[in-house]
Each structure stands twice: as structure tokens, then as C-alpha cells.
């Protein structure tokens, strides 16, 4: 099936099998390998993207469902290599180690901060519940998000 999807402002037109998951489409067809796959049950959130303004896990959508949609991925956060305050905070607070969950984590935190510019610790943790990190124990991630909240 033909789909036209806008990712980080660029529109891509591709012919995809209906069975192809959005995450495979992003990584394999569009070569946007920043979003990752960490599970096969929709638990880990490494594939989280912002889909028409809403945070979703791109492993639980079909690529064909994205026809006409506008998607934001980690590759779209920094502008010409200039890290966003959130990305800088992750660096300052050592909120990443292996960096595999980081793209999804950043998208979840970005979505949170758009809705709520001064979240509490509890709100931050709840907003990150759908993203698994095996390296950091989350404490530094929560600190990083808190540091850019107003």
C-alpha cells in the first residue's frame, strides 16, 4: 500500500506491506535508526515517537496507519546539532549510559514537558513509566527532566 508520512518535517512516500510495523518502517525503510526496539510486547518504549502530537509506541502501530500523519522522532529534536535543553540536561545529570532507551525516553519527556511545564517528581515518573531503562535506575533521568522543568 502507498503511504505518505511526514517525519521531522520531511514527507516520505513509500509502498509498504500492511503488516509492517511503524517502527520497522522508520528504521528499515526510512533509515531513521534513532528509535529502537527493546521488546516485542509493547512494554519497553524504546520505539516511542510523537504521532500527530501524541506520544505512542511505534511498535504497536502499522506503518499504513501513519498514512498522512506527522511524526516526530529523536532525530528531530536537536536543530543543526544544537542539543535541546532536555538533551543537555540528560548529559549534565548522567541520565544515560548505554543510550539505547534514551531516544524513547527523550520523546516521552518531551511530550510531558509540552503538556506540563512544571511536573512534580511523581508526574515525571508516571510520564516515564512506559519507558524501560536497564542502566540508570531512572533516578538521574528524573533529575534531568526536573532540571528543565519550570
Amino acid at each position: 500500500m502507498d503511504v505518505a508520512v511526514t517525519v521531522n518535517g520531511t514527507t516520505y512516500e513509500r509502498d509498504v506491506e500492511p503488516r509492517k510495523l511503524l517502527i520497522h518502517f522508520l528504521r528499515d525503510d526510512l533509515d531513521l535508526t534513532g528509535s529502537h526496539v527493546g521488546c516485542d510486547t509493547g512494554n519497553c518504549g524504546a520505539c516511542s515517537v510523537i504521532f500527530d502530537g501524541v506520544l505512542v509506541k511505534s511498535c504497536m502501530l502499522l506503518a499504513v496507519q501513519a498514512n498522512g500523519a506527522s511524526i516526530e522522532t529523536v532525530e528531530g529534536l536537536a536543530e543543526d546539532g544544537e542539543l535541546t535543553p532536555l538533551q543537555q540536561a540528560f548529559n549534565e545529570h548522567h541520565a544515560l549510559q548505554c543510550g539505547y532507551c534514551t531516544p524513547g525516553m527523550l520523546m516521552s519527556a518531551t511530550a510531558l514537558l509540552r503538556e506540563n511545564q512544571s511536573p512534580s517528581d511523581a508526574e515525571i515518573k508516571k510520564a516515564l513509566q512506559g519507558n524501560i531503562c536497564r542502566c540508570t535506575g531512572y533516578w538521574n533521568i528524573v533529575e534531568a527532566v526536573k532540571s528543565v522543568a519550570r
Partner: protein, 807 residues
């Protein structure tokens, strides 16, 4: 949420990089999704590999038919166990007999031995098609009874996994040090513990295993892009099996999505990829999905401790213990039975008892093979010693804090030689315990206990400790198999000054988040007296860099010792060469008169005589006419660090098995809902001592990560099998790993006891999670008053404990 006794965010530092929380150089690419993980590597015309896996825990394979699968358009080809048996030798076995006799190949040959074992590999044009085709592969099985409980694996009526081993016993060895009889004679009390169980789980790195393998037909060489974290080990397993020289196996890694030991034993899958890349003459890509990983990759050692007897004095002085350790290896020995000796690095735990006997037995079962997992084999044994302390304290009605302090190896005893000849290099355990207790407000516990009781809750506090022994002496493998010709350890770094004066560092390690690029740059910058920003550390590992040795890799908490010592050695060589070069250029100025500063070398007395690094690089590489003939300078310095090890004594099973002993003491406070058994950790402290910290923030990150994994393992994470050998927790749906809402408040603390045995005073660290597993067990025991005998305590088990308490 997390208070910390460490300096938080770093400030701009000019001099003395070591010891500073320098921000990580790795982060910029990772934060932008520009890291290169194995599944990101693509090649023209590559085929995707999908494994057909066994649905049976134990069965004969009576027929394999791949014709239907190969008939599909877009299927490139298949690989069967029969082909593998014809094309390769069985993998080399570390074990002595009977484990030595088993025949392990990269695919099941004739028989399957665990659910999820790869039986056939199918390669096709797309990932989806490869899986479609794998469903058309016909395999007939003749089911056999499954062995799922190590305790009955050696029964006469138990099915046998490996006929070549003539039974399910893989390896056994009796370790005995000191004078047990004397100890038990001297004892006021003998505390008996019939059975303790350390459960099966692993660290589930978020990225699973994978590879992209290319075969260069012209030179007969494979390039293996992978996330294997110990290429040196993979090479010595794969080379002999494939009957090729190691130089034919080029390993390339860049970013690795977590490893924790679980990515050491992917060599069977890598061999399958290599064979198919050659057979199909195209690049072969393999991605392991989460369920595949849970079913088949590197579970942590499940261990039972039986008939434990502890000799104690009434005042709580520990004299010694004897126990029988029964280790469940799963279906294959992929790194085992090294677990049968690795534990001995920490034989007495943190305590001064001198008389110890441990009868170690490892058996095969129809479960996924076990392999290293963060805290490998020491974690199980340290959990056991800590359990013994709390059970003894309960039996003698003594305070667990007092029993610990009475028996800890003391600061003044350091360096302390254990009954089996290991040397604890430094540390002050009592001081660490005091700090940890202070961080959870220990004196307030009685009040909080009463307050919780009023709310119908049970509050308990527990202590856990681990010794994160780092830098293996591989000579300990001879205690498993005297035939083995391994000993010592080594790591390599290469530091060069390039033609335009760029400082380039090449490591032999395969970091998975430990920040090697950053800490290596800190060490280099201090020696060359430049900024970390001027130091370029190559990302990842590549055999073609020739910057690795036999034991290269990232495992066994050793980078801070082996890796950074190699970096230090190479950088000092380079600094000396730069001075020799400058001395010659300046017309015979002696090295002592020169110093490195401001990105160059200059004469101390007349700083105007300055030669920038760029000039040094240019002169040697591109403008070297007229240099003195006898000037031996390459500005490309390769250094091999070799720790000071002796070969252990095989007869007495004694010797120094590891170089450094980082220490962790964790304290957990739990609150239990007695009606349901559900509980939560309401307070937590983790104190770490890993000697000199090059980058305190990175060290604290390791402490936090290990803590989170401990909490997950203690409460939720378990690889549970049913009686037929089906894995009941095959993915993150039933295998619950902690998420942000599961994390308790955490206070971290640190003290620094520099190691006298390492060039930088550092100790390897990062594997201290076991402390947390025990802290939770001990807290549950404290809250319920019931003896906790299992390392895994989900709500259901706590509820049962409480039932037993009432009965």
C-alpha cells in the same frame, strides 16, 4: 528524589581531570539517535536470518525438511544442524570430564535440550519473510522427559541431556580450607540451614543480541559487526570450531545497548551467521528479539545451597561454615563451569572466618544455558554468606549490625589474605555500614516500625553487602580444568599523535554504557597536560586496530584497572617519545629539561622554545628527513597492561584469583501489607567504595543501575519454568523489570580506599547489585520474623511466609 554525598553536575575543569565528573563524550551522538547499534548496520543485498526454535524442552529430532521454506520466492537459503555438524567442530569445552565430553554446536544436532533452542536458520529478503519461511520448516520431534529441577537431575530415573557425559553431572569439585573439625569443635553453637535458593534471572539489556556478518571470499575472512561484549572469548570459541585462524574473524562493535555479561556467549549464533554468509555469498543480518533472548540467552546461574552448617560462638563470632552448592547450568556449558570457581574470589564474603568447606556441583537441565550475568557467580555466593549472617543473628538473637561488625575484615587487616589465598586490597567495611545506616536514618527505625504498625503495615530493615571483585586471574580456570593453559589477564590501549597533532586513543574494550571514551580521555589529558576535548577516543572495538589482547573486552569489572592502566602506560610511552623527539629537534636537550603544556612540549627554563603537538606529529610522519638515525620515535604507542598475578595452586585450590575488591553495602527499608503480601521499598541507601574514582558521576551511575537491577531481581524478575520445561516468563509482559514508578527514594554514598595494587589506585566496579537483592531479603525477614530462604520474593511468597508464621 536522590540525595547524594557526591558532588553533582560537573563544573568547567582545566587541570586534574582525573577525579572530576567530566561530562561524557559519548552522549552527544546517543542523545541525537546517532549512535550506531548493531541493528543499525546495513549492507547492500543483505539477507535477514530467523531461527526456527524448539518448542520442546527435550526431544529427539527425527526429521528436518526445509524444502517448503526454500521454495518460497525471496528465501535465500537455510542452515540445518546436520550441515553445522558437517561444517564445524563442536565448541571447545572449558570443563574437565564429564562436562568436557559434551558436543555443543551452533544449532541443535539430533536432539533439542531446551525450549527456544535454535534448530534451523532461515535467511530471506525481508525480516517478515524469513519468519514466514521458518514456519514452513518441518521438524519432527520425539519428546523426552524434561529435567527442570537441578535437585533431581542426578536421580537414577532422571532423563539424561548429554549421553556423551553419561549423566547430568557436568562438573564437581570440593573446596576445603582451614581446619573445619577444629572450628566446629571450638563452636558454642552450630547453626544449620537445610536449603537456600538463589533464583534464575539476568540483566535483560534493553538491546538484545545481533550481528551483521560479511564474508570476504577472496581472503576467506569474515567481518562480524556485532554487540558481543567479549570478542576475545568469542574468537577462541569460534576459530577452532570453524577451523580458521583468528585473523579470519574480524570483530567490529560500536555502541552496545547494555551487556551486563549477558552478551558474552552469542558465539553459537555468530557461527551460524558466518556459515550462512559464506554459503549464500551475501551479508547476513541477525536480530534477536526479546522473546528469543529470554528463551535462549545467558540466564544467570541458579544455585542451591544444601546442608549448610555454621560454626559460631555465642557472642556471634563466626568460625567457619560448610555447605553443598548445587548449580543449575541449563542445557549447555557456554561459559560454564567457570561459575564453579569464580565464586571463590569472595570465599569468606566480607568476614574473617578462616575455616570453610564448599562442595560444588554443577548439573545440566532442560533450561536455557546460563552464562555470566552482572555479579557473575560471586553474587550467588555473597548472597549466601549474607543470608548466613542474618540467619545466625536471628538464631542467636543478636543484632545483624553487631554480628557484621564483629566479623567484618577490618581496615587495619588490609591487605587481607583470605583462607584461599585471595588478597582483599583495601577498604573499611564498618565505616561503610555506618554511612549506609545513617543515610536511611537507622536510629529512627523503631519509631517508624511502630507508626507503620498503626497503619496495619509491617516495616523491616535489611543489610546487604557485596565484594565486586574485579580483574580476573584467568589462572583460576585451572582449578576447573588443570589442562587449561590460561593465566593472568591483560588489556591493550594504543595512543598516538597523528600527522596534524591529533591525539587518538584506541581501546581493546567493548563499552556498553560505562563511559570508556570519557574516562580514558581524562587519564590521557592528565598525562599529556591537555584538555579532554583534545583527546579523541575511538568508539567501540575493531580487531583491525590491533589494539586488543587475548582477554580484551568489557566484563568482570576491570576497565578501571586493566583498560585505564593500559591507557596510562601507552600515554606515558607517548609522552616520553614526544620529549625525546623535541629534545632532538631542540638540539640535544635532555628529557628532564622538557615539559608538556598547552598542547605541546617546551623547555622548562625557556618556555618560548615550544614545539606544538601538531609539529611533533608532522615531523615524525611527514617531515622526518634529518632526524637522528638512533631516534626511536613512532608517536604511535601500544601498551599491554598485565596485572601482577601468579598461577594459582591447583592442589590446594589457593591463589590470588582477582586483583581488586570494590565494596558495596546497601540498606533497604520495606513496608509490607500483611493482608496481601504486597510490599514496597520505602527507603534505600547504597554505599560504594571502589578506590580512586576517575569520574565519580559515572561511578554513581553504575551504583544506581546495579541497585535498580537488584530491586527488580529481588521482587519481580525470574525465569520460571513449568514441569515440562516451558519458560513462563518469556518476555517483558510476565518478566516485569522495574520502571520509574517502581523506584524507591535512593541515597548514595561513597568512600575511597585506593587500591595499593593498581597504577591509578582504582578498582573495577559496577557489579554490586547483589547487595540489594540480599538487603530486600533481610528486610522481609526483619519485618515478618520469618527466615527468608529464597533470593526471589514476589508478593505471593511473602504472603506464604506470613501464613507459615501464623501456622
Amino acid at each position: 528524589m536522590t540525595e547524594t554525598t557526591l558532588a553533582p553536575a560537573p563544573v568547567e575543569v582545566q587541570k586534574g581531570w582525573g577525579g572530576q565528573s567530566v561530562r561524557r563524550k559519548e552522549d552527544k551522538r546517543l542523545l541525537q539517535g546517532e549512535g550506531v547499534f548493531v541493528d543499525d548496520v546495513k549492507r547492500h543485498g543483505m539477507g535477514y536470518l530467523h531461527f526456527v526454535r524448539s518448542p520442546y524442552a527435550h526431544a529427539h529430532i527425527t526429521r528436518v525438511d526445509v524444502s517448503a521454506a526454500e521454495a518460497i520466492d525471496g528465501v535465500y537459503g537455510t542452515l540445518t544442524g546436520e550441515e553445522v555438524a558437517a561444517l564445524t567442530e563442536p565448541f571447545f569445552q572449558i570443563s574437565s570430564a564429564p562436562g568436557a565430553n559434551i558436543k555443543d554446536y551452533s544449532l541443535a544436532v539430533g536432539k533439542v535440550r531446551y525450549v527456544g533452542e535454535p534448530v534451523v536458520a532461515v535467511v530471506a529478503e525481508t525480516r517478515e519473510l524469513a519468519r514466514d519461511a521458518s514456519e514452513l520448516v518441518e521438524v519432527d520431534y520425539e519428546p523426552l522427559p524434561a529435567v527442570v529441577d537441578a535437585r533431581t537431575a542426578q536421580d537414577s530415573d532422571a532423563a539424561v541431556l548429554h549421553d556423551d557425559a553419561e549423566g547430568n553431572l557436568m562438573w564437581s569439585g570440593l573446596y576445603s580450607w582451614g581446619d573445619l573439625d577444629a572450628a566446629f569443635a571450638e563452636a558454642d553453637r552450630v547453626v544449620k540451614i537445610p536449603e537456600l535458593h538463589f533464583h534464575r534471572f539476568n540483566s535483560t539489556p534493553l538491546e538484545c543480541d545481533g550481528a551483521l556478518v560479511e564474508f570476504n571470499r577472496g581472503v576467506g575472512q569474515w567481518t562480524i559487526h556485532t554487540n558481543n561484549q567479549f570478542p576475545g572469548f568469542a574468537a577462541i570459541m569460534m576459530g577452532p570450531a570453524m577451523q580458521v585462524g583468528l585473523d579470519k574473524l574480524r570483530f567490529v562493535t560500536q555502541d552496545i545497548g547494555g551487556g551486563f555479561g549477558n552478551k558474552i556467549t552469542s558465539h553459537p549464533q555468530l557461527v551460524a551467521c558466518c556459515l550462512l554468509a559464506r554459503k549464500l555469498n551475501r551479508p547476513v543480518q541477525w536480530t534477536e528479539w526479546r522473546t528469543d533472548f529470554h528463551l535462549s540467552m545467558s540466564h544467570g546461574n541458579e544455585r542451591w545451597f544444601h546442608d549448610t552448617e555454621v560454626a559460631v560462638k555465642d557472642d556471634g563470632t563466626l568460625l567457619g561454615f560448610r555447605t553443598k552448592a548445587l548449580d543449575d547450568a541449563g542445557a549447555w556449558l557456554r561459559y560454564e563451569p567457570l561459575g564453579g570457581v569464580i565464586w571463590a574470589q569472595v570465599t569468606p564474603g566480607m568476614y574473617r572466618w578462616r575455616h570453610i568447606e564448599l562442595d560444588f556441583t554443577q548439573v545440566a537441565t532442560n533450561k536455557a544455558p546460563v552464562s555470566p550475568n552482572r555479579g557473575y557467580s560471586r553474587m550467588q555466593h555473597l548472597w549466601f554468606t549474607e543470608r548466613v549472617i542474618d540467619i545466625v543473628a536471628r538464631e542467636l538473637d543478636l543484632d545483624p549490625v553487631e554480628v557484621r561488625k564483629r566479623n567484618y575484615v577490618r581496615a587495619e587487616d588490609m591487605p587481607y589474605t583470605t583462607p584461599n589465598g585471595c588478597v582483599y586490597d583495601s577498604g573499611d567495611y564498618a565505616a561503610m555500614l555506618d554511612l549506609a545506616l545513617e543515610l536511611v536514618g537507622y536510629e529512627s527505625i523503631p519509631g517508624r516500625r511502630a507508626e507503620a504498625k498503626e497503619r496495619g503495615r509491617m516495616l523491616g530493615v535489611g543489610i546487604g553487602s557485596t565484594l565486586d571483585s574485579g580483574t580476573n586471574n584467568f589462572g583460576q580456570s585451572r582449578l576447573i580444568n588443570p589442562e587449561l593453559q590460561f593465566s593472568g589477564n591483560n588489556e591493550v590501549a594504543t595512543v598516538k599523535l597523528d600527522i596534524f597533532g591529533e591525539i587518538v586513543v584506541t581501546l581493546g574494550t567493548t563499552p556498553q554504557g560505562q563511559g570508556h571514551e570519557t574516562t580514558a580521555a581524562q587519564v590521557v589529558a592528565d598525562i599529556l597536560n591537555c584538555s579532554v576535548d583534545d583527546v579523541h577516543v575511538r568508539a567501540g572495538h575493531d580487531s583491525y586496530w590491533n589494539s586488543h589482547a587475548g582477554f580484551s573486552g568489557t566484563y568482570a569489572s576491570q576497565f578501571a584497572v586493566t583498560g585505564l592502566s593500559a591507557v596510562k602506560g601507552a600515554t606515558e610511552m607517548l609522552a616520553a617519545e614526544i620529549k625525546r623527539l623535541a629534545g632532538a629537534v631542540f638540539g640535544g636537550v635532555p628529557e628532564e629539561a622538557l615539559e608538556l603544556a598547552d598542547g605541546g612540549v617546551r623547555i622548562k627554563e625557556s618556555p618560548d622554545a615550544f614545539l606544538p603537538f601538531m609539529a611533533c606529529g608532522a615531523i615524525v610522519n611527514a617531515n622526518n628527513a634529518g632526524l637522528p638515525e638512533d631516534l626511536e620515535v613512532t608517536l604511535n604507542c601500544r601498551y599491554v597492561y598485565r596485572p601482577p598475578f601468579e598461577v594459582p595452586d591447583v592442589e590446594t585450590k589457593t591463589g590470588n584469583l582477582t586483583l581488586t575488591y570494590a565494596t558495596q553495602i546497601h540498606v533497604a527499608v520495606v513496608e509490607i501489607d500483611p493482608e496481601t503480601g504486597a510490599y514496597k521499598i520505602v527507603d534505600y541507601a547504597a554505599v560504594d567504595d571502589c578506590g580512586k574514582r576517575i569520574n565519580p558521576q559515572i561511578v554513581e551511575g553504575q551504583v544506581m543501575g546495579a541497585t535498580a537491577q537488584a530491586i527488580g531481581a529481588a521482587i519481580h524478575e525470574t525465569y520460571e519454568y513449568d514441569e515440562d520445561g516451558n519458560l513462563l516468563t518469556p518476555n517483558f509482559y510476565d518478566y516485569h523489570v522495574p520502571h520509574a514508578l517502581d523506584m524507591p527514594p535512593l541515597a548514595t554514598g561513597a568512600i575511597e580506599s585506593p587500591s595499593p595494587f593498581t597504577p591509578l589506585g582504582t578498582k573495577g566496579m559496577g557489579e554490586g547489585g547483589g547487595a540489594g537483592i540480599h538487603a530486600v531479603c533481610a528486610a522481609i525477614q526483619d519485618a515478618t520474623g520469618q527466615i527468608v530462604t529464597d533470593s526471589h520474593n514476589p508478593y505471593q511468597r511473602v504472603w506464604r511466609l506470613l501464613q507459615e508464621g501464623q501456622a
